[in-house]
């Protein structure tokens, strides 16, 4: 009877031989700086040192019990053979005790390991999420969101799981190995050597199979990526696929990828699955060797029959950690590589919130002075930008797509920092005050209509949940989203699903405008905020805005010139330069770029 003391997690994968994930041969990622990463990881385990110590103790207890138990069984069998039956019951008593200890130790091990994992995952994930939120916008804009998500869920979980369960497996494995070898050597040196020989065989075989498998696993991983790519793209764009009758092409492409994936999968898994029977074969081989040679040694009088029984258990106990060690090594390497990715994000410089000056935006005077900016060095998008927005004025930015209008907003919000020049609010450089103060005084409605999976009420009160319902309803009325809300089944308590997917684009824009109105900002920025709203509704919103913003500053970006005609100042931009400024009437009289744009819009043809 084997008395394995495998920790909780490996219990799940035991008994079936390798199955895909974590199996030997699955691609192993190599960490770059294993030592440094490990010591940082250790810091995450440090607050739970109590659990680490308890876990180690329970592992030791389990290993000791499982190593000693077979020797008692061996004694029992010897007494059986030697017909000294009276000696058996006390031995059985010892065995009972050891097995109970072993079981108890395993339970404790499961408990401590789960507790430890859970606490470490929690900390790791929370820290990472907090870090991601504090990262500067440029970083988030230039990194794949899917990648970020997988770090927070998969990597974080993988790292803590592997570290707490695999490390204890490793610990118990090594201990068991040493204990077993010591016990075996005490019984019979030659039989121990023979058993070791079979282990050597299994190590060689594992290696050979792993190599053969690795090739197919890598290939399968790539094919899986392709398959998922097709699914993701074609399913999320299924309306376009249908509109262009591309269903059959998509299906053909998918089927080809799926067939190839299956073909490689069958080969890879067949090789992988042969590991189980092969190992079983070697285990049985060791069984035969122990039986045959053990028999022979017994005949020679070198060992007793009971020793054979003990050896059968020991040889199993011995080969299990050996088989596991290679696998664990790979798992741990992969986990450390995952931890490196996590720490990589954590090491990114957080957004610069600096600026120690305490400051209250009172008037909302915005000034851009000789601002130059480029997203990518060498590709300048804003050139010597000068603009002064007086308090309480309505300024409009117009210009063709890609002329740099949204960039100006990005700079004012300090989503990006400028290359040279300065931007001031009420005469103070925005780099000298905390970005939170700047952002707090600005209400913004972005081109992308971002809503959260929450009730309409909480979405509208996003800036401050303590605002009254009365204020919220007023804001909803002036932004014209009250009608949208009224049509929803539960009104303001309706939970918006999948980031507001159950609303039309125009309706979502109205909600985001309502949200900005409710925050009563000193400065309001609307970046193409009404592009999907019909012009009449838009006009009503404008009227409401005039009331709301009569003593506040507003900055409006729009394609539709009707949106901005009554602005105090219209700024026409082209390729990062300001080419014209003035009021609507002034610019029309001037007959420049604005005039052309205006005539195009209303005459419907080029002039």
């Amino acid at each position: 009877m084997s008395t394995n003391s495998a920790p909780a997690s490996s219990a799940v994968s035991m008994g079936f031989g390798p199955r895909g994930r974590g199996a030997p041969g699955a691609p192993v990622e190599k960490p770059k700086e294993a030592k440094a990463t490990l010591s940082r990881l250790a810091a995450y385990f440090a607050p739970d040192l109590k659990y680490v110590v308890l876990l180690a103790l329970s592992v030791v207890l389990g290993v000791v019990a499982s190593v000693l138990a077979p020797s008692f069984q061996s004694k029992a069998i010897d007494n059986l053979v030697g017909a000294s039956f009276d000696a058996i019951p006390p031995i059985l008593g010892w065995m009972l005790l050891l097995y109970l200890l072993n079981g108890g130790a395993a339970l404790l091990q499961g408990y401590f390991s789960s507790r430890l994992t859970q606490r470490v995952i929690y900390r790791l994930r929370s820290d990472l999420f907090g870090k991601v939120l504090s990262l500067p916008i440029p970083y988030l804009d230039s990194h794949s969101h899917g990648d970020m998500m997988s770090r927070m869920t998969n990597d974080a979980e993988n790292v803590s799981n592997v570290i707490s369960s695999s490390l204890s497996s490793l610990f118990s494995g090594v201990l068991t190995l040493i204990g077993t070898v010591v016990m075996m050597l005490r019984y019979s040196v030659p039989l121990t050597l023979l058993t070791c020989a079979t282990v050597l065989l299994s190590v060689v075989l594992t290696n050979v199979i792993s190599k053969a498998m690795r090739k197919y696993y890598l290939q399968r991983q790539q094919l899986l990526g392709r398959l998922n790519g097709i699914v993701e793209e074609k399913v999320s764009a299924c309306k376009t696929v249908t509109a262009y009758n591309l269903q059959d092409e998509a299906v053909t492409e998918f089927n080809a990828a799926s067939d190839e994936f299956t073909r490689i999968g069958i080969i890879g898994d067949s090789i992988g699955n042969s590991m189980g029977p092969m190992m079983n074969m070697i285990n049985n081989l060791s069984f035969v060797i122990v039986a045959a040679f053990g028999g022979w040694f017994t005949l020679k009088g070198m060992i007793s029959v009971g020793v054979i029984s003990a050896f059968i258990i020991y040889s199993k106990q011995f080969s299990r950690p050996i088989n596991e060690l290679a696998q664990l090594y790979g798992q741990i390497q992969t986990a450390i590589a995952g931890a490196e990715r996590i720490f990589g994000v954590m090491d990114e410089t957080a957004e610069d919130h600096s600026g120690d000056r305490s400051f209250d935006v009172s008037d909302g005077v915005i000034e851009f002075e000789h601002v130059n900016f480029s997203y990518v060095p060498g590709q300048q998008v804003i050139y010597d930008f000068n603009l002064r927005v007086e308090a309480g004025k309505k300024i409009a930015l117009v210009g063709s797509t890609g002329s740099g209008k949204t960039t100006v907003v990005n700079l004012l919000m300090r989503f990006y920092d400028i290359d040279s020049g300065r931007i001031t609010v009420d005469g103070v450089d925005i780099r000298d005050i905390s970005s939170d103060i700047v952002r707090d005084s600005i209400g913004i409605v972005l081109q992308d209509t971002v809503l959260f999976t929450d009730t309409v009420r909480n979405n509208l009160k996003y800036a401050d949940r303590t605002l009254t319902d009365k204020a919220m309803i007023e804001a909803a009325e002036s932004s014209y989203c009250d009608k949208v809300v009224d049509a929803l089944p539960d009104g303001y308590d309706t939970v918006l699903t999948a980031a507001g997917a159950n609303l039309s684009q125009g309706q979502r824009q109205l909600l985001t405008i309502g949200r900005a109105f409710l925050s009563y900002p000193k400065i309001l920025i609307l970046d193409e905020a009404t592009s999907s709203v019909d012009t009449r509704t838009e006009q009503h919103i404008q009227n409401a805005m005039v009331k709301l913003m009569h003593d506040r500053t507003s900055l409006i970006i729009a394609h539709r010139l009707s949106t901005i005609q009554d602005a105090d100042q219209i700024v026409v931009m082209e390729q990062g330069h300001i080419i014209e400024t003035g009021t609507h009437t002034e610019l029309l009289e001037k007959g420049g770029k604005y005039y052309t744009l205006y005539m195009t819009q209303f005459a419907g043809k080029e002039t």
Partner: protein, 590 residues
């Protein structure tokens, strides 16, 4: 169980390999089970020489050893073969399911896609299908193995000596109780686990995608709190699951080890009485450990099955959803070839009403109008008045609830949808580009188009110039979700794609909203020049986009408020004038 019957439909095709997999597996296990018996033979006869009066027999040890070796080899071969056949069966049938799923999804009506939600469809075809594959393999291998080990082990044990049966009979209920308890407690937790993971993912995705809003409203602390709550819930659930699973194995181990002690004790009594040889006791212990393996497998099989069944039901729901809009092959040729009244490119709405199936609220009421060949119809109206819904009925993305939509005089429901959509091109509100080159994205409109035609379409769409400015021109790849292109550029590529298709009816669903006015005007001018014989239906917000249309439809609250030319509407329709004024303000005289 109905779900399992569904699964059987796919495995049926692979019945032969499935059978081979099971047979080889049985062979492997039988051989495995035979080993301890030979072991007992070596000990009892070879070493102790029980039947030959205590004389050891080295020859017997060697010959039995060799026989064991051969059996070990055979056992390995059977195991490998069984693995191969299992994989062919499991992955092969899963592949069929996956392909069928994808095919179904691709042919879903918009309504069906909306119901499932694309996110869920993606998870189903990727994660859930993989779980089903595990289920199939588990059903073949796991069940066979578990039953064989369990029954075989028990039978072998009992044939050694029936008195061992008492011990097994005592241990079994305890183990079963353990398994049942754990499975009973973990099953509902798996669903909770999946849900809390979904929630965590949702928060991450929302916050990362909406980071500008989070930062602009300085809500980082609140988002961290929201995340912490979801994180806590997930981690607690995970702990509960892990703890339950962690309990199962040690408890089983204790019970079975106690049983081993029991066997030695019973064995001792029997040996003392001279009824049993010591080697037999050793074999009995080995069999007991095989029963243990069988039981442990059972526990794991239950886990995989309860997970797999949940996934299977999700996959089944997709596969068994027949597309509402079915193909009518015989109608295809006839309908597209000759129209009732010989006209090509005409659209007629006859008393059409429409409500989205999921909400039931009527979006369009009693709409009737007609567009003729080569005509340009513009549709204008307030946010949420049903413009997009109206044009969605023409290519039959949805079906009208009442009334008829006719294309070339034939009800759209009589068409083969493929043939219908060949005639009708829709440029959607959201310009979805695929992650390939700009050229390939345009070519999707008509894959066999020549380079000149692609360029011509791009030129008409006002896209040629900026495409040539891209680093690799037409070969520039459109990055993930087209992030490298601005909204206006994406729209123009989508328009080029629509133009290349050269359908008889072209629908622009607010697809020029991100274009600046000059570009838009140039686009419409080139449409008039190059696509004069194409019937055009244009949804727009700006008067400038619609004023040159042959006819303008003013939609208000799901009904047609007015229709006519720009001049007529200016004279007759207060709603239209209102829209006009809202865009022109005091400059009405311009």
């Amino acid at each position: 169980m109905i779900a399992l019957l569904f699964l059987l439909r796919f495995i049926k095709k692979y019945w032969f390999t499935a059978l081979l997999a099971i047979l080889f597996l049985i062979a492997e296990i039988v051989i495995d089970l035979y080993q301890p018996r030979m072991m007992a033979l070596i000990v009892n006869e070879g070493i102790l020489g029980l039947s030959s009066g205590g004389v050891s027999d080295m020859n017997l040890i060697i010959s039995t050893g060799i026989r064991m070796l051969l059996l070990v080899l055979a056992c390995g071969v059977c195991g490998v073969l069984s693995g191969i056949f299992t994989n062919i069966t499991g992955q092969g049938s899963t592949n069929e399911i996956r392909k069928l799923c994808f095919d179904r999804i691709m042919h879903f009506s918009f309504d069906q896609t909306d119901n499932f939600s694309t996110g869920s469809l993606i998870t189903r075809i990727t994660n859930d299908v993989t779980q089903v594959q595990r289920l199939i393999i588990q059903l073949i291998r796991g069940f066979t193995r578990c039953i064989m080990f369990f029954l075989g082990g028990t039978a072998a044990l009992l044939t050694l000596d029936t008195s061992f049966g008492v011990i097994v009979a005592c241990a079994l209920p305890l183990i079963l109780l353990d398994i049942i308890f754990v499975v009973w407690r973990t099953n509902p937790l798996f669903t909770v686990l999946q849900e809390s993971l979904d929630r965590l993912n949702m928060i991450i995705q929302e916050d990362v995608a909406g980071i500008r809003v989070v930062k602009a409203f300085i809500q980082e602390p609140r988002e961290e709190e929201r995340f912490a709550e979801a994180n806590r819930h997930l981690v607690d659930t995970q702990f509960n699951v892990q703890m339950l699973l962690a309990c199962m194995r040690p408890v089983m181990n204790i019970v079975l080890n106690l049983a081993a002690v029991g066997i030695i004790y019973v064995g001792a009594v029997q040996v003392k009485a001279g009824d049993l040889a010591p080697g037999t006791v050793m074999a009995a212990i080995t069999y007991l450990s095989q029963i243990l393996i069988g039981m442990m497998m059972l526990a794991m099989i239950f886990q995989t099955i309860s997970r797999g069944m949940a996934s299977l039901r999700r996959v089944q729901a997709v596969v068994e959803t027949e597309s509402e809009i079915t193909r009518v092959p015989e109608a295809a040729d006839g309908a597209s070839a000759k129209a009732e009244d010989g006209s090509r490119g005409t659209v007629r709405f006859e008393n059409v009403s429409f409500a989205y199936p999921d909400t039931g609220t009527e979006i369009l009421h009693d709409i009737s109008f007609r567009v003729d060949h080569g005509e340009t119809l513009a549709i204008i109206g307030a946010t949420g008045c049903g413009k997009t819904s109206l044009v969605s009925l023409i290519p039959r993305f949805y079906d009208a609830t009442e009334g008829r939509v006719l294309v070339d005089g034939i009800d759209v429901r009589a068409y083969d949808p493929i043939a219908l959509r060949e005639k009708v091109t829709v440029c959607l509100q959201k310009s979805e580009l695929f992650s390939t080159t700009i050229r390939d994205n345009i070519l999707l409109g008509r894959p066999d188009a020549s380079e000149e035609e692609v360029r011509a379409a791009a030129e008409s769409a006002q896209a040629d110039a900026f495409i040539l400015q891209q680093p690799d021109g037409y070969d520039t790849s459109v990055a993930e979700r087209g992030m490298s292109l601005s909204g206006g550029q994406r729209q123009r590529i989508a328009i080029a794609r629509a133009l290349l298709k050269r359908g008889e009816i072209l629908i622009f669903d607010d697809s020029t909203s991100a274009l600046d006015l000059k570009t838009e005007a140039a686009l419409y001018a080139s449409l008039d020049r190059n696509y004069a014989d194409v019937t055009r239906i244009i949804i727009a917000q700006r008067i400038a986009s619609v004023r040159n249309a042959d006819r303008i439809l003013v939609l208000d609250g799901g009904t047609i408020a007015a229709s006519g030319t720009h001049e007529e509407l200016m004279a007759s329709s207060p709603v239209y004038r209102d829209i006009y004024d809202s865009q022109l303000r005091e400059e009405v005289s311009e």
